[in-house]
């Protein structure tokens, strides 16, 4: 039996270089609530972590110990916190460079944990934190620029395009550095283009697009461009809530009456108008204001009917609104 199990880890308790530390056991009570069955490797490392915290040691071996624990439990706030204060105390360009490389690995590996992003944010904020001397922080030049940071985030999103923490962090980078580094906004629109092209139902990408186009200051011509963009995406896949919400968002933000979209919406709220196959010889003119549904679109589209009902409601015709809205509950209008 013993030969089948992997070799046991070398415990801190058995390591010569850790002999000066007195390990501290967790002081749980007799009747612990939700105890955790700790593997010996974790228990041993945590005993030494508590030992280190008690002696207030901030040396390079603390980085080794805390990395070891984080790889077993990336959610331990106190361990991350102690690691951060150790990095501050060491104030070494070499350790900080290594730390940034490590975080590139760990944010990808543990992207679903709040803690990795919180630590990354603290590192990025380092140049702004007060240093012991009155001058600029000596480590500031090592910290990635905001645009390098955004490039890294695109890499993370390439592995999981809807990860909430990554998007939230990206939005924080843009709001935090957007004024001082106006250039960082430039690539954002293209970044969402690519992600929406890849998956038209990626609501995180749609949300981000709204944030960069409308929530971060007005830009010239953005309204026409975005209305054309969202209509073209609706024409490709009409039953896409993300796109309809985006359209509604633009209209609400710019206080445009929904009725102005009536011609467009009616192309989607009823059965297909005309038959493209019969008109094959005709060169179809793409109407930027009112693009027609793609040939394989499921019509009528419930989200368009809902929109039509809201047009009537906004125009004060409640009876018509109720009648149209009732259509969406018909099974017949579920895409077939």
């Amino acid at each position: 039996m013993a030969t089948e199990t992997p070799p046991p880890p070398v415990l801190y308790a058995d390591r010569e270089e850790w002999r000066d530390i007195t390990p501290l056991e967790q002081s749980d009570l007799e009747n612990p609530l939700v105890p955790i069955f700790y593997p010996i490797e974790y228990k041993d490392a945590m005993d030494y972590f508590r030992g280190i915290v008690a002696t207030k040691e901030h040396t390079d071996r603390v980085l080794e110990l805390t990395e070891h624990i984080i790889r077993m439990n990336p959610a331990h706030y106190s361990v991350w916190q102690y690691r951060y204060s150790t990095l501050l105390a060491l104030c070494s360009p070499e350790y900080l460079t290594k730390e940034l490389d490590l975080m590139d690995e760990l944010c990808l590996k543990f992207m679903k944990y709040y803690q990795v992003w919180s630590h990354r944010k603290l590192l990025l904020l380092l140049p702004e934190s007060p240093s012991s001397t009155s001058g600029p922080n000596p480590l500031a030049h090592i910290i990635p620029t905001p645009s390098q940071e955004l490039t890294y985030l695109s890499r993370v999103l390439a592995t999981d395009a809807k990860n909430y923490h990554t998007w939230a962090y990206r939005q924080w980078v843009l709001t935090h550095y957007g004024d001082t580094h106006p250039g960082i906004w430039e690539y954002e629109l293209i970044a969402t283009d690519i992600l929406i092209e890849d998956d038209v139902r990626n609501n995180s990408a749609w949300h981000h697009r709204f944030f960069i186009c409308f929530a971060s200051g007005a830009q010239n011509g953005v309204e026409e461009r975005e209305l054309a963009f969202v209509k073209s995406k609706i024409s490709l896949s009409p039953n896409n809530l993300s796109a309809w919400n985006y359209l509604r968002g633009i209209l609400d933000k710019l206080k445009i009456r929904y009725a102005e979209l009536q011609t467009f919406v009616e192309l989607y709220s009823g059965p297909r108008v005309g038959n493209r196959n019969e008109d094959e010889d005709e060169v179809e003119v793409y109407d930027l204001d009112n693009p027609r549904p793609s040939s394989n679109a499921d019509l009528p589209c419930a989200l368009a009917i809902e929109f039509l009902a809201d047009i009537h409601e906004q125009e004060g015709d409640n009876e018509k609104a109720i009648n149209v809205r009732a259509l969406t509950s018909f099974d017949a209008f579920i895409p077939f």
């Binding site: 501290l24 967790q26 002081s27 749980d28 009570l29 007799e30 009747n31 612990p32 609530l33 939700v34 105890p35 955790i36 069955f37 700790y38 593997p39 974790y42 945590m46 508590r50 915290v53 008690a54 077993m72 439990n73 990336p74 959610a75 331990h76 706030y77 106190s78 916190q81 102690y82 204060s85 944990y113 709040y114 919180s118 904020l125 809807k162 909430y164 998007w167 939230a168 939005q171 924080w172 709001t175 990626n202 609501n203 995180s204 749609w206 949300h207 981000h208 709204f210 944030f211 409308f214 896409n240 809530l241 993300s242 919400n245 985006y246 509604r248 968002g249 609400d252 933000k253 579920i334």
Partner: protein
């Protein structure tokens, strides 16, 4: 295997496997989590809360555990109340403690754990006389940032709607709002609202079911008696309609659906049946939910041998187990088999008698004066 691939037979609704869920919750409380649960090491208190709340909502706490065992759990929770330079609050476990009970920079109180501790103690019918009220008020005050948001722990760079909700709930439990700045907190909540009608975790983040619950519950917890005009904290009619629409669209309308997703175009997940379902209840719109479909989905998420899963194939866990039951209670209280004994308060996320216990122990009589 894809969850959507399973086509359930919905001719007859499944019962709640109450006995199995009760033994599962008891097992987690007593024996805890396996080694794969290590990442909950600092959150044991909140896992404990989900298990205790599961027993409470199924009306099983009396029968499932002895008085001496409950006393042991109460003592453990009190041992997590720590005092220090930041006042006093609860941590999730003693994992970072070097010389407890003194709180240190690396062993701080957490707002989420403090919320979970108060509710857990009320479920366990603790007299709550050990609560350091003054310390807790100080801790709440220190936790609030200039922009109105609340920090996860005093030196944290995390401040989102989860902590706003916990801070508001704690003030509501204490019936004392004098230690926090309500107007700036409400401004922060409002800044998390998105064009879709839901709320993101922080300003500029995507609308999310969990954050939306935190926002709506917080806004509705603000006491009308406070100097701050509570009404201006609430939604305008247009916002109310937009938020209702967004929440309703989160419910999966397909034949195998019925559950809620946490974001637009994401898949249904049992926990959002609570976050979105309770949100609709708070808005007074629970009656427009397709409650039967929601119940069918949740009951299909049950694991026959105890616990409820986020979908029909994953492993069960205490978090999804409790929130699924809470959703059933809010949306299908009388139609499940067996029906629930008592209603759940959607704002505190506690059953009525537990809420009453807490109020009777912590609320001053008559109501405390409004903040200056």
């Amino acid at each position: 295997m894809s969850d959507q691939a399973i086509v359930p037979d919905r001719q007859q609704q499944l019962p709640i496997y109450a006995k199995a869920h009760i033994s599962s919750a008891i097992r987690f409380l007593r024996q805890g989590l396996p080694r794969t649960g290590i990442d909950n090491d600092q959150a044991r208190l909140v896992i404990g809360f989900y298990c205790l709340a599961t027993l409470d909502i199924l009306d099983a706490l009396e029968s499932a555990s002895s008085e001496s065992e409950k006393e042991g759990w109460r003592s453990w929770i009190w041992a997590q109340q720590i005092r220090g330079i930041w006042g006093s609050g609860f941590r999730g476990s003693p994992g970072a403690a070097t010389n407890q009970p003194a709180s240190s920079e690396y062993d701080p109180p957490f707002l989420i754990m403090t919320y979970a501790a108060l509710l857990s103690l009320a479920i366990l019918r603790d007299p709550l006389t050990q609560l350091d009220r003054e310390g807790l008020r100080k801790y709440l005050k220190i936790s609030q940032r200039e922009d109105g948001s609340f920090k996860l722990f005093p030196t944290s760079e995390e401040y989102d709607l989860r902590m706003t909700y916990c801070a508001f709930s704690i003030c509501s439990m204490l019936d004392d709002w004098s230690s926090i700045n309500i107007p700036s907190a409400v401004t922060f909540i409002q800044s998390c609202r998105t064009y879709e009608g839901g709320y993101g975790q922080e300003p500029n983040n995507e609308a999310h079911g969990g954050s939306t619950y935190c926002a709506l519950a917080s806004l509705h917890l603000v006491p009308p008696s406070s100097n701050y005009a509570g009404s201006s904290a609430l939604l305008t009619p247009a916002q109310h309609a937009q938020t209702t629409r967004w929440l309703l669209h989160c419910q999966d309308a397909s034949e195998t659906g019925g559950g809620f997703a946490g974001r637009t175009n994401k898949v249904q997940d049992a926990c959002y049946c609570f976050w979105c379902g309770a949100s609709l209840d708070i808005l007074g719109m629970a009656q427009v939910v397709n409650a039967d479909a929601n119940a069918s989905f949740l009951l299909e998420c049950q694991f026959r041998f105890g616990g409820i899963r986020k979908d029909r194939v994953s492993n069960p866990d205490p978090y999804h187990t409790y929130l699924a039951l809470a959703s059933l209670n809010i949306l299908s209280k009388d139609t499940t088999n067996p029906p629930f004994e008592e209603a759940l308060d959607p704002l505190w996320n506690a059953r009525a008698s537990t809420q009453l216990w807490l109020k009777q122990r912590l609320h001053a009589t008559p109501a405390t004066a409004a903040p200056a």
